[in-house]
């Protein structure tokens, strides 16, 4: 009998663990990653000859609450047709009772892996702007994400940005979302999703502070707003996502989440303010720090009213315009004006220097 090394045992374990999609048009190739609710595999769509990502629920309860939640996630994502939201191709159930859905295969890196390094503040903010825009789009459809974090955002090789994992998303109002849609049967569909939103628990992913927690508190402690950390799910609205966007911006600016440890993070988010980004790095511009902290205000009223509003402030900062979150003094205004118009200023300076040279040359 052949001796199996630890590595060989691990590979055999992986093979035996791959789900059997025998009854579907997908053939699983290998595992890509796993989360609290499901595991994502690379698979081949036999009919269309393309590679897709297949998310399979970790547990078998096709008639139960977890399956409902996964089906609900698939339906919600199907409603959100946007370049920065991964489209779902297909939903089904395996013979063993686990629900799966097939979605577009996203190639790239997670934001937490791609941030930092050689990326400039400008590049990171352009990515962040796209995240805000995708979330703003979902808000116009009456959907809030509730678990925004760098781990749930993919950045493609050409700068494309995709917001993933809508497993705990909430439909705020079927009527409101219906108004934003044009299809005739949207009302029934959305009502079904909204009803399914009563399911509030998820299986826990073991371990890290970045994992989505189960129980009555939904989301990721390190990035969640205070009202979510306190389990006041009835208070959640678009501004809760705005808070999480602020926390993501915080991560992009400082390289770490606003609250560090897993269990304490929820308590911290529920009770106190994070360390100001400029205390970590004084080079961070005051205006962008202000945008971040405004989004992360403890009171919903003090935050941006929408992700679109936050995106607009980020664009203003990138364009060298004043942002709504920060009141500049006269020197800062002048400095920003000079930075924005540096070429004009240089041209005027060059012209003045030339005039001076000519003046002194003629004077001699």
């Amino acid at each position: 009998m052949r001796w199996l090394s630890d590595n060989a045992v691990e590979r055999l374990r992986e093979e035996a663990d791959l789900p059997d999609l025998g009854g579907s048009k997908y053939l699983v190739l290998h595992k890509l990653g796993s989360g609290g609710m499901g595991t994502v595999y690379l698979a081949q769509d036999v009919d269309l000859g393309r590679k897709v990502a297949v998310k399979v629920m970790n547990v078998a309860d096709s008639a139960g609450a977890l399956a409902s939640r996964m089906m609900r996630e698939a339906r919600i994502v199907a409603l959100l047709e946007h370049p920065s939201i991964v489209p779902i191709h297909d939903v089904g159930a395996l013979d063993d009772g686990r629900v799966f859905y097939a979605m577009k295969l996203v190639q790239g890196k997670r934001l937490d892996q791609s941030a930092g390094g050689a990326a400039s503040l400008y590049d990171m903010l352009r990515i962040f702007q796209k995240v805000c825009e995708a979330v703003a789009f979902a808000h116009t459809r009456g959907v809030i994400h509730r678990d925004l974090k760098p781990e749930n955002i993919m950045v493609g090789p050409f700068g494309e940005v995709l917001v993933m994992d809508w497993g705990v998303a909430k439909v705020l109002s079927a009527g409101r979302a219906e108004a934003a849609l044009t299809s005739g049967d949207a009302s029934a569909e959305l009502s079904a999703i909204e009803d399914a939103d009563l399911i509030e628990t998820l299986p826990l992913a073991a371990g890290s502070p970045g994992d989505t927690s189960g129980g009555t508190i939904i989301g990721t402690p390190a990035y969640m707003p205070p009202e979510q950390a306190r389990g006041q799910t009835e208070l959640l609205d678009e501004r809760s996502d705005v808070y999480a966007l602020g926390a993501i911006l915080y991560f992009l600016l400082t390289g770490r989440p606003p609250y560090e440890s897993g269990r304490d993070a929820g308590e911290q988010a529920g009770s106190r303010r994070p360390v100001r980004p400029r205390q970590t790095d004084p080079k961070i511009p005051r205006a962008i720090e202000a945008i971040c902290l405004k989004a992360m205000s403890e009171s919903c009223e003090d935050r941006y009213a929408s992700a679109a509003g936050m995106a607009a402030d980020v664009v203003r900062f990138l364009d060298g315009d004043p942002v709504s979150a920060y009141r500049e003094n006269i020197f800062e205004k002048a400095g920003r004006w000079l930075r924005k118009n540096r070429f004009l200023v240089l041209l005027i300076l060059a012209y003045l220097i030339m005039r001076l040279i000519v003046f002194f040359s003629v004077g001699r």
Binding site: M1, W3, L4, R13, A16, D17, D20, V28, D96
Partner: protein, 243 residues
């Protein structure tokens, strides 16, 4: 469609070990000895720091006594895993043998199965020894290694018997032949190597994987006493919660 992710197609050897039917009992003991002798031997070598000859005698003696006294029938699945029970029995047996110093007579003469102790010694030589205080994890790991080894053996026999030699070769090439730290061979490279289309490689591997998984689960079913224990072990071994 049911909620049961795992097929229950084979009778538990643990249950069968206490059967009134002698033939059934013998088959059950063979299955249990086959699955456990290697982890038991290595455990005795390492935990009890026994030289190879003594560990061989103790391993043989332990299983001989288990058969003679039928103490596997005393296993209560509601209290512990079978592995934990077996290890407790083993520790008691070795301790008793140490006290009585009678192991040569009891174990040395009792050759119940032809066990490849030289092979086990070779494995001990190749593999890194367990860290101090990690003997429990070591036994678990060796048990998992043994289950996969037996499943792989069954898988080979099954595939060859069904005339699916290419499936078997592809599976082994893809899963087992890669260097430890190297990435798996791509499907495209396998297609070129086996003169198949990439689609066929995908299909062959899917079928082989399904069959291997079925056999692993059958083996687990055989080595557990209850459905609950079976699910627990499947979860531990395959990493997915079947509930």
């Amino acid at each position: 469609m049911g909620n049961d992710r795992f097929p229950v197609t084979r009778l538990s050897a643990i249950v069968a070990a206490s059967s009134a039917n002698q033939e059934e009992r013998t088959r059950a003991f063979e299955a249990l000895v086959s699955a456990y002798w290697m982890p038991v031997y290595k455990y005795v070598r390492i935990k009890w720091n026994k030289p190879s000859e003594d560990a061989r005698d103790l391993t043989q003696g332990f299983f001989a006594e288990a058969i003679e006294k039928n103490f596997f029938a005393r296993f209560d699945p509601s209290k512990a895993k079978f592995r934990t029970f077996l290890r407790t029995c083993l520790d008691g047996f070795v301790a008793n043998e140490n006290k009585a110093a009678s192991r040569i007579k009891r174990g040395g003469d009792a050759t119940i199965l032809s066990l490849d102790f030289d092979g086990a010694e070779e494995q001990l030589r190749i593999a890194a020894p367990p860290a101090a205080g990690a003997i429990d994890e070591y036994f678990e790991k060796e048990w998992a290694r043994r289950v996969f080894s037996l499943a792989l053996e069954g898988f080979r026999a099954q595939m060859l018997g069904a005339g699916k030699e290419t499936h078997l070769q592809l599976f082994e090439r893809y899963v087992l032949d890669a260097e430890d730290d190297a990435p798996k061979t791509s499907y495209k490279a396998l297609a070129a190597e086996f003169d198949l289309s990439t689609t066929n490689v995908t299909n062959y591997l899917a079928l082989a994987r399904r069959e291997f998984r079925r056999i692993v689960l059958e083996k687990l079913r055989e080595l557990t006493a209850t459905d609950e224990e079976f699910r627990r072990e499947a979860r531990a071994l395959l990493g997915v919660d079947p509930q």
